[in-house]
Symmetry: D2
Subunit: 365 residues, 4 copies
């Protein structure tokens, strides 16, 4: 039986933790989604040759390569997926876009607004995606649907927080994430970027922020924690926070939206659940409901397993990739694309600037 | 301003933990409820003279006494409240009833069905109450209301459990609760009685039980744990359990009712909350709701504090007493009365008999 | 048996919700604590004569009065307790202090720092207390003990939030709390004051704040919500928030403290519980523990009921009063006293000023 | 680079929901575990030809087949995995074992003890596995480790429950699970089997049971619910329950173990968490801890993603398969094997017999 679908030849740049998550997504997406392309895992690109061979064999990559600059130029590649350290995102993405490739890029899109703008500019004519994978957590996609359906109503408060605790371990070996040359920043790019993307996705444009950063660990060159206040274009106010000193949280990406008609609350460690408070219920029956977002009527509810059978971290990458491929086949704009990545970057820049200026900073509209 | 309400002269027999809870109820009831009687705290009766004086002073009892047999005969007393060890309930209640007193009695009503029947017989013409105080937890009273309104529908399962962990402490000094002469039994009378009363209150008559008891602590003369299965007249099935070896639970009196239209769940350590699952919600919006049962529209919602301001253990006694006084003034039957206490006793007897016979045992209808 | 304890003759100014909570505390304190004074409930002062008589009868006040200015001068009164609308706190407290009375005052101490300073000045020679009752929630007192024992270690983050949702009900009748003339401010004085007091109690002095206020309801003259960032003298950073538009929360007074050795979290709707994460546990056994703060070794653990038998809102007033009376008898400084109330006021003023200036504002040291 | 590992040629019988879960396990296992065999996905066998082609293409099966009787005889197959309806397990497994194949079989092993015994007998000389996948939930494997380390101590109570709610939907199309010819039984084989396997795994041999079954839905030929009491060889007592009428639960496979030193609790809808109560902590610091079982030191903690990045339902199949392959390469007995499946079957038979006899029934030792 011949497969009439167009083939997409994929090259993945990067073999770290994110490389593994992306490899898995490319390998698994057609098993859970009826995707409109045949994906060919052509090239896995990295620098540690031995690990590279093992990864390529495990995940089914046909070839390996060690120089990403060559890979992005190869004519036998249709799609470049960038999972390199942050400081290389810009250069790699611009090269790939100029070579006419479809470009996928890990978050944060870039280390500065300037870089991000150049990427958007370069990629104006190619399909793009930023791996803000958490938009595809079924519970978060369902939160978005409930908001769009008016179930929350006029929003009063939006609070987004991303807490991890590993920063307190000062014996932990330094990675590129602690190096401002490579990571750009600390927790702002690493974790706050996720919180900001979800805020923009769920609650719309941010107008102004005031913020504070702090490095608790002696000798660290990037910030460990950030606290900020935000005002949104829809009139709501709230907080955006991220920390690597959030003792008690392994992976606490959470948000709370409170509106005239309801409240939604989410925590990544319970990622199959969404808390919903329906303020239109009669007073004695009002209460926070815990929804297990695995039903057939929930987002991605028929793609993975049965109702009540939960999914994990990796499935958010699979679902994001599937959605991207569907958009691609329909010639529709996918979100979050590079422009969405730039929007996040503008907020992060304002946060960092405010931490420096000690004033409220506006975000360009 | 003269008080036109009839005076009720109260004597309380017993000065232990329950005596304190009852004293507090008598002292506080008119502060939260517009009760139709003037309560006069006439006599506190106990055996430890020094403690008795202190308690009487603290709670406002006018007199003290040490011989309950004399107190129940006193013509200047209208209401006898029995908080003596279990083995004295029957004799004291019968004497008080024969003397024409209103009789309130701590749970369990008695140590045997035979005793309980004699008490019911003797008290046929006087108002009675058994202190199954948990019926007056607002969340439980609200559960009952939701069931009566049809919010749970045809019931499939009822599970009642009362778990405490103090039994594992074998250094704990023995009290009368460990003495079968005084307590009658162990956890069956002490904790299972509460679980059975709530089962009868919320789910109706029990038809049959099969049960198992166990004494874990060497040398204890009463049972530490009981497990039983039950069939109910309404067609539902479930479990009734109690244990003093429920490690992890300080005071885990809980139940779960599952029916065609909904589910209700309660745990005494979170006694201001009721969990409710509305199976008539659309599938994607179905979820267990946590109701904070403190609103004006909830039972006792206007008696204590404001919405969101929780109450504690003692308020269940206050509310039970208030309801009893309102029933009394309207000449209505209060529940749980001695007959309700006898119903509980019949189930407890069947449980103990089954643990001995190793067969299903029926409960008289 | 004659009572050798000194008598304290109490007058309570105010008959609203807080009047009820205070009356109950005066009536109940000697039942749960072996207090070193005989309290005499001498005068209840209010303006609604009919309600006043009912309240006085219910709670045992000997006399009633309608002019608080006369009451504070009466020679037969030792202790004045102020539960009047905020704008009267200052005048009443100063008059009482000048008359040599012991002065207790509802929170917030005053409407401005200026008022609060005058109160502190006037009361320099009399014992004082501010009813920041939540310091006496057993779980919060235990949090303080754990912090003092070093169980949290160097603090990184402190977050305090007080959320209620009643502000969304625009049909609700206006009370003095909505009138800036009487209330001074909106949610800042009403709810943020509690959050700030707990922050100062648990985490020490606040150095700077930046804040934002918002009035969501058309026509309201006071702020509905406040968001702020704070830096603490101990080097930690965090947020302080309060809102009457916190949809999903009836009475959500909560905090989170994260330090090198542990994390503590509390929520008033579960006020008998304290969440504790011990970062010194081995990694695989680290987890947030839910402590039921009712044990004999917990604060107030032997005063109320038995382990596992929870207490409610009113008990925080009882325990606060008891602690005050013990301090008084030992001639020790009680906390929170008027100076502590002033400290709170200084933070609230900085918050309001920052909301106006849109800058970081310092708090006097 | 040639792969020195032995090749295992796999045939999977069955293309339903379980076929998908098993296919995924075969496809994914070598990506997360360094497995000692090369798995070759040789044959997928089913009856719906069109779906079969799609599944084979998606999951990488080389060939398809429609007659399982032929497949189990093929010389080019090393391992037969049975995911057929229950009534075919016995015949297929016996045929495969007689043909010398490695045999994996979905749970329950069989429909009767007699069938299970014949399977054990036939497979005495081939490696076997029963897909009681939940033993490989990291949280459950960690519970087992804690029990083995003595962290729970002498066990007093074990309670296992598996609740789903789909049975209440009487419009749901009938599948083979509702047909006693194919399924053998209803909820007993389907869900109670999991609860019993976990009970045996975590708490050891069961000595006696007394049980009750009930069919709530009119016209259903298999039981909807089962309630049972159990006594264990280690002296503990408890309950084993399963229901398809567990309103409020999508996939509520849960257990609770209470012992002298601690308590463990688990719920499948929160499958990355394990609740642990350490009774050796000092009283004021005792509390139920919520452990997120994703750390490097937890079972499977280094195989999947990073600490705090949760896994889902499918990973339990992957981990079970990996463990089986490691056992196979070391020539060790894997558990649960067919003998373990027989042990479960013996308990299920005793439960069903007790429901019929209305007596306690013993389990063979």
């Amino acid at each position: 039986m011949s497969d009439p679908r167009r083939e997409l030849r994929v090259a993945l740049l990067g073999q770290g933790f994110m490389g593994k998550a992306h490899s898995n997504a490319f390998a698994q997406v057609s098993r859970f989604f009826d995707v409109p392309f045949r994906l060919r895992l052509s090239v896995l690109c990295g620098r540690d040759q031995q690990a590279l061979e093992r990864s390529a064999a495990a995940w089914g990559w046909e070839q390996t390569a060690t120089d990403w600059r060559q890979v992005v130029e190869r004519p036998d590649i249709d799609l470049i997926d960038i999972a390199l350290p942050n400081h290389l995102h810009s250069e790699a993405a611009i090269a790939a876009a100029r070579a006419g490739k479809i470009v996928l890029c890990e978050k944060p899109l870039a280390n500065t607004v300037k870089e991000a703008k150049a990427m958007v500019e370069a990629a104006r004519n190619v399909p793009t995606m930023v791996w803000f994978n958490y938009r595809r957590v079924p519970a978060i996609a369902y939160a978005k649907r409930l908001i769009d359906e008016g179930r929350v109503g006029q929003v009063f408060h939006y609070r987004g927080t991303y807490q991890q605790q590993w920063g307190t371990d000062t014996n932990r070996p330094l990675t590129w994430k602690m190096d401002p040359e490579q990571a750009g920043h600390g927790v702002v790019g690493d974790l706050l970027s996720h919180a900001v993307d979800l805020a923009l996705y769920l609650n719309g444009a941010i107008e102004q922020v005031t913020a504070l950063t702090r490095t608790f660990a002696p000798g660290r060159a990037v910030e460990d924690a950030v606290e900020s206040l935000a005002t949104f274009a829809n009139g709501s106010i709230g907080t955006l926070e991220a920390t690597r000193f959030g003792v008690g949280s392994r992976n606490g990406n959470s948000f709370e939206v409170q509106g005239a008609k309801g409240m939604l609350r989410f925590h990544l460690e319970d990622m199959n659940k969404l808390e919903f408070f329906d303020a239109t219920d009669g007073a004695p029956l009002q209460g926070v409901r815990s929804l297990l977002v695995t039903d057939a009527q929930h987002p991605y509810g028929t793609n993975f397993w049965r109702p009540g059978h939960i999914i994990g971290y990796e499935h958010t990458f699979i679902a994001a990739l599937a959605d991207f491929l569907f958009s691609l086949s329909r010639d529709e704009q996918f979100h979050p694309n590079f422009e969405d990545g730039l929007r996040v970057q503008e907020v992060l820049d304002a946060v960092l600037q405010s931490a420096h200026s000690r004033r409220w900073e506006g975000i360009p509209t």
